[in-house]
Symmetry: D3
């Protein structure tokens, strides 16, 4: 499957906090930065996410903002 979302980053799951509806998944990029994703707890189960698992982060370009100092 190939998706229209323009941004895909490789990473490894570093931690998961599961709530009754949503979960917070921390993913470490190869350079060491940690990004955070909120998906449903059901998606965490569907994708069998667990610490150490290799994943991709997918982000639609419209959802990327730009900031300057």
């Amino acid at each position: 499957m190939k998706i229209s979302a323009r941004n895909m980053l490789k990473g490894k799951v570093k931690g998961i906090i599961k709530g009754p509806v949503n979960a917070e998944v921390s993913v470490e990029l190869p350079g060491g930065e940690v990004l955070v994703s909120i998906i449903t707890s059901k998606s965490v189960e569907n994708l069998e996410l667990a610490e150490g698992k290799n994943v991709y982060l997918a982000i639609k370009a419209t959802n990327v903002m730009i900031a300057i100092d």
Copy 2:
């Protein structure tokens, strides 16, 4: 200013395509990956974005999806 968006990545503007309403801004991360952002053309002007400028990409955690192979 400090914002609730959990994800901030440093980068450098690599290219800008300006349309009448929206613009596509490509930003290169230190590791070489290029991420793409869609913001308004007016924001490109407000932030005086141009090739080579140092910027941050800001992404709300809800807008980060996870994919697996």
Copy 3:
């Protein structure tokens, strides 16, 4: 590839309006309803979208609102 977005709908591309940055893609579902997607014009090229092509619509659950009469 499997993605955390909870909603996937099969459809067929019915029309594309390409602007300099974004494109509007109309997709017909099997039941006849037509849904509209805004993606970058570059994604239209990357996915080689054209009228009649079979596609999936992917929608993160957070982006689905509910309305009542």
Copy 4:
């Protein structure tokens, strides 16, 4: 009321999981597919959502991605 969101789909509430802040609402479309929406638990109360209730799903076109096999 008429809204700018381009996509409106009729459906029937099939299930609700309520958390302290957000709720996951499953909605069955006439063709049998089930879509999932995350809204606040307060919105579930405001709209008096319950199993079997007729609703519309409203989705802004920018939030619809396209995928291919």
Copy 5:
């Protein structure tokens, strides 16, 4: 119609820039602040938006970020 989006603000259309796909609509709130909305140019037509028209801005709570100085 009543929608799950938690935030509704009354305003008056102040200006419209129409592109081939998207349009930028400026809306003035009663207090004088001007908010900006990007919707499809087709939605501008569907809602017959024009300068001076009374409208509501609708914003899903997930899409509201918080910043501090």
Copy 6:
């Protein structure tokens, strides 16, 4: 820091409901309207949000819909 999000509104925190992952933050605008934001509970801590604190609401223009009666 200056961000591409086009909409910034000043307000004061009126209430916070913290869940295990997400939190609902109510913010009162100078005119008395109350807007609602969903951010992660971790962001509530990072920004040290509490009742009465002065904040800005930041909203990307793409996430503002328009409705008419």
